[in-house]
Symmetry: C2
Subunit: 137 residues, 2 copies
Amino acid sequence: MRADVTDTATTRALPHPGPAEIRLEAVLHALSDPIRLSIVRDLAGTPDELACSYFDLPVTKSTTTHHFRVLREAGVVRQTYRGTAKMNGLRGEELEGLFPGLLDSVLTAAAAEEARRAGSGPPADGAAAGPDRAEAV
Amino acid sequence: MRADVTDTATTRALPHPGPAEIRLEAVLHALSDPIRLSIVRDLAGTPDELACSYFDLPVTKSTTTHHFRVLREAGVVRQTYRGTAKMNGLRGEELEGLFPGLLDSVLTAAAAEEARRAGSGPPADGAAAGPDRAEAV
DNA sequence: CTGTTCGTACGAGAACCACCGTAGTACATC
DNA sequence: GATGTACTACGGTGGTTCTCGTACGAACAG
């Protein structure tokens, strides 16, 4: 039994790539999926860490786990266990150090595209410009 | 044999997405492939348009065609026929208008990663400490 | 201990993608 | 017309990714 774990509750450790292991292509690929991009946008919108169960994604739990794993292995998010929950935090500072401005411009672009899409597309029926949590970056 | 072509030489037109059709995910996906990223970097390094045959890629011509098609359909490059050659130009201004700073930060990131890779690979030690600092959480 | 909640592992199937080789089109030149 | 160049389309293969369902493990409240 490893008694070397100094922490109390967070014993299950997850493998994360170090800053030198993070590959640009992997980051871009991780961000090129709509579901993962929405996760990243949500994470960027709050200073807190969010549990996996917080996200309301149109896929099953298995698939959600898969997407979070891709994000973690690409070096985009950091995951830590906290009781039964797994908390997710954006590795914003590290990414900024490696690729200055990249994450920010992607988030801005995502917001711009969403605004563009919402502004010129939807006039079909009632619900106009749903004010569902505007991600102000 | 259609002789109805009104233009002189360069009339074979290729389908390009309009600015409103360009999707962020598609752009990120197009840039997440090493070969395509190197193409984009080459294009960004020159003000001229470059023929497909200019590039020295480690794949066959069929695959090269495939990659250029992906870039074109994502809205990253513009392709025009010029005699037998097909010239490729970056759609930099349009992308800048849609996603300000995105292309620039990706190019900067690619250059940074290449420098990092070239600089810290061979030497046993250098500036940065070990590749993986234990993830202190 | 029992049950609940949260997330993972394991298959497994469908879709996609990168890659290739061959055959074919379009253009320029001879 | 014949030859050569530049690129495309088609067909196919192997690998990866996305998705799911089910079964399992870890933490916690009774």
